[in-house]
């Protein structure tokens, strides 16, 4: 890297930050203190020891947009995939699709299928990680279990060593398949405007088909584990459907031409809290539908539906707050495009007896259903006659101006928006990451859980874990905004009494 370029970027960065801090200082409210690379939940009690307010905050990596300006747009799929090690493939794919749009070029059908294959491999692997490692312990081990067992080790203890081994080996094979096509999982180099860099050699196809079959068996097995452990336990079902974990909001997700869930492409569909279609639009129009609200106490902006408006942190059709991620995708669609997933989808809504389902913890079940869909879609794609085609690229010919791309990241809708000069040099960059789309509902979820669980000043580890469960269900990856680990984001939970004194603190 040329040192003078480095200096210019860093100076621009420093200016942007200074401006940011100046704006923040003006509106910062005590007693929220600075974040230091970890998430925070601050719970404020009143005189009676009940919860007056609870704030959930995440740190944010600042300055990515400034960092990108002046670079060639083609670099974005690589650079954005390095924002963090959590969902590199999602950023890579959203970036690649934004480049397709920027250069007005449609990838040939085999290239599109390769992308969709890689994307579904990634979704399956990432969801499996959450089910077994990050969010799963809340249910598989139990929400009241002591913290030292409420982790992946406790999961293995509960489900057995063989299953543990199966999780590890399936995950490894899925990742190897992604690496075959995209290079390193963390720094994929697959996507190019108008296509992909690599296809599948016919002689290697059998190994993909084998992995696909193993992946499908694994997903169906996971669905069975979920049913056995969670759905057959009335106490868990009561917890999932309890009011403290329920919010009636809008839901957003990508759908195909039959309004079925699609992770890779389609139109963005939004349904109201009553389940009616509120909007359906191509990603290029996203700014007509989505706006961002700023709160003095948080670094993260809160997205809401422009047409409905920001009415504060409240539920209902009058409030523009919407949700993304697995539950939202199921709610915003009318079905799944593969048979086993469709069956599971129908059972899901039948069990709850409502659509949309408003229970935040139902995200865990929705995630497993999505694993089944991803796995079935992988099987379809590796058996598609076109999948070994070498027709992988259409070379762009037009001058670039604006490009917008979207995918469903594991944690929800992810937008990439680039504007360039005629040489493809970036002049404007806007990313809306999944967790930002979810941030308003997540803040409400944490506060509602805290208010519902903490009474008379009594705080225990089990209670506080149940507060955390309210946001863990969303699988919050703030890593586009932080480089923290998936779900194991260091979290500091503090409880303050009515005089503002810290009475309880725990760190994870």
């Amino acid at each position: 890297m040329d040192e003078s370029i480095q200096t210019v970027w860093n100076e621009a960065q420093a200016r942007a930050n200074e401006q940011y801090y100046t704006q923040r200082r003006r509106i910062t409210v005590d007693p929220i203190t600075r974040l230091e690379g970890h998430g925070k939940i601050d719970i404020f009690l009143n005189e009676q020891g009940d919860v007056e307010r609870a704030y959930f905050q995440v740190p944010e990596l600042r300055g990515f947009e400034v960092f990108s300006l002046g670079r060639p747009a083609e670099d974005m799929p690589q650079i954005t995939s390095r924002i963090c090690g959590v969902c590199p493939t999602a950023h890579h794919m959203a970036g690649t699709k934004a480049l397709d749009d920027l250069y007005r070029v449609e990838p040939p059908s085999p290239a599109r299928k390769i992308r969709e294959l890689v994307y579904n491999l990634f979704m399956l692997e990432d969801h499996a990680l959450h089910v077994y490692v990050l969010g799963g312990p809340d249910f598989i081990v139990g929400p009241d279990a002591p913290p030292e067992t409420r982790n992946v080790l406790g999961v293995i203890q509960t489900v057995g060593l063989d299953i543990g081994k199966r999780v590890i080996s399936t995950r490894r094979r899925l990742r190897e398949s992604i690496a075959y096509l995209g290079g390193k999982v963390v720094h994929p180099v697959l996507g190019l405007p108008g296509g992909v860099a690599k296809g599948i050699a016919p002689e290697d196809l059998p190994q993909f088909q084998e992995v696909a079959q193993a992946g499908l068996e694994f997903a169906l097995f996971t669905l069975q584990v979920f049913k056995d452990v969670v759905l057959k336990n009335p106490a868990y079902m009561d917890l999932i459907t309890s009011d403290i974990y329920t919010h009636r909001t809008y839901y957003m997700g990508l759908v195909d031409d039959k309004n079925r869930v699609n992770f890779y492409d389609g139109k963005i569909r939004v349904v109201s809290p009553e389940g009616k279609e509120y909007a359906k639009f191509a990603v290029q129009a996203y700014l007509d539908y989505i706006a961002e609200h700023v709160e003095p106490w948080s670094y993260v902006k809160f997205c809401y539906l422009k047409g409905v408006g920001w009415k504060g942190f409240m539920d209902g059709a009058e409030s523009g707050i919407y949700s993304v991620a697995p539950l939202a995708r199921l709610n915003a669609s009318e079905g799944m495009a593969t048979p086993e997933a469709q069956k599971a989808y129908e059972e899901f809504f039948k069990t709850f007896g409502q659509k949309p389902v408003h229970h935040t913890l139902a995200n865990h079940w929705a995630r497993v259903i999505e694993m089944v869909y991803a796995a079935e879609r992988i099987v379809e794609l590796v058996n598609d006659p076109e999948i070994t085609s070498t027709n992988l690229r259409v070379i762009p010919t037009v001058s670039p101006t604006v490009g917008v791309g979207v995918v469903e990241a594991p944690r929800g809708t992810l937008f990439h928006h680039y504007e360039t000069d005629e040489d493809g040099i970036l002049r404007k960059v806007n990313l809306i990451v999944a967790t930002q789309n979810n941030s308003a509902r997540m803040a409400m979820s944490v506060e509602k859980a805290a208010k519902g669980l903490i009474h008379g000043g009594e705080v225990s580890d089990a209670l506080l874990n149940k507060v955390e469960m309210a946001f863990r269900a969303y699988d919050p990856c703030h890593a586009c905004a932080t480089h923290s680990l998936p779900g194991q984001m260091p979290l500091v939970l503090s409880v303050y009494n009515a005089s503002g004194k810290l009475v309880h603190q725990q760190k994870r």
Binding site: Q6, G63, F67, I79, I83, I156, I168, T482, L485
Partner: protein
């Protein structure tokens, strides 16, 4: 995994778009030019379960990373063993999950390094998009690299050559 048997892994953690956060990656690149063919040098921005896959099969592993403990001046070189993270709340997000990963490897009877050491540098600001290192990190980088080579050298003395002696 058999191609890893008996070998040593130098695993660098970090993100070089995040200023000081990338110090482990830079150190590893410098180390890579000075070790023999029995050492694999790998860079990653991942953590958690991915570490399991990366470590599996190696005889020994040296992790190189940045940390923010807030207790030492930036540029300070720190050494940990995986056991330390059972007691310490992860000073770097990269480690969250490392104790679990090791425990999991043990319970699942995976072939795992019998020795793992962690070499880390206290850094200033790993939370902003920046290129290049802060002054104290930059200044201490050569010592950081030297210490990594020294550890690899100690391991060499215990069995086959790992570090090529400087000419």
């Amino acid at each position: 995994m058999s191609e890893r048997a008996g070998r040593t892994l130098v695993l660098a953690l970090g993100n070089d778009l995040l200023g000081d956060d990338g110090v482990g990656l830079e150190a590893a690149r410098q180390v890579a030019g000075q070790v023999d063919a029995t050492v694999d040098v790998v860079e990653t921005g991942e953590a958690g379960l991915a570490l399991l896959e990366m470590l599996e099969g190696y005889a020994r592993a040296l992790l190189i990373d940045s940390v923010v403990t807030g207790r030492y001046p930036p540029g300070t070189i720190l050494e940990f063993s995986p056991d330390d993270f059972r007691r310490v709340v992860a000073p770097s997000p990269h480690y969250a999950g490392l104790p679990e990963v090791l425990e999991m490897a043990r319970r699942l009877e995976l072939d795992f390094p019998y020795e793992i050491r962690i070499l880390a540098m206290e850094v200033l600001n790993p939370y902003e998009f920046l290129l290049g290192f802060s002054e104290p990190v930059h200044e201490n980088l050569p010592r950081f690299v030297q210490r990594a080579l020294q550890i690899l050298g100690e391991w060499r003395c215990e069995n086959s050559p790992l570090v090529i002696p400087p000419r």
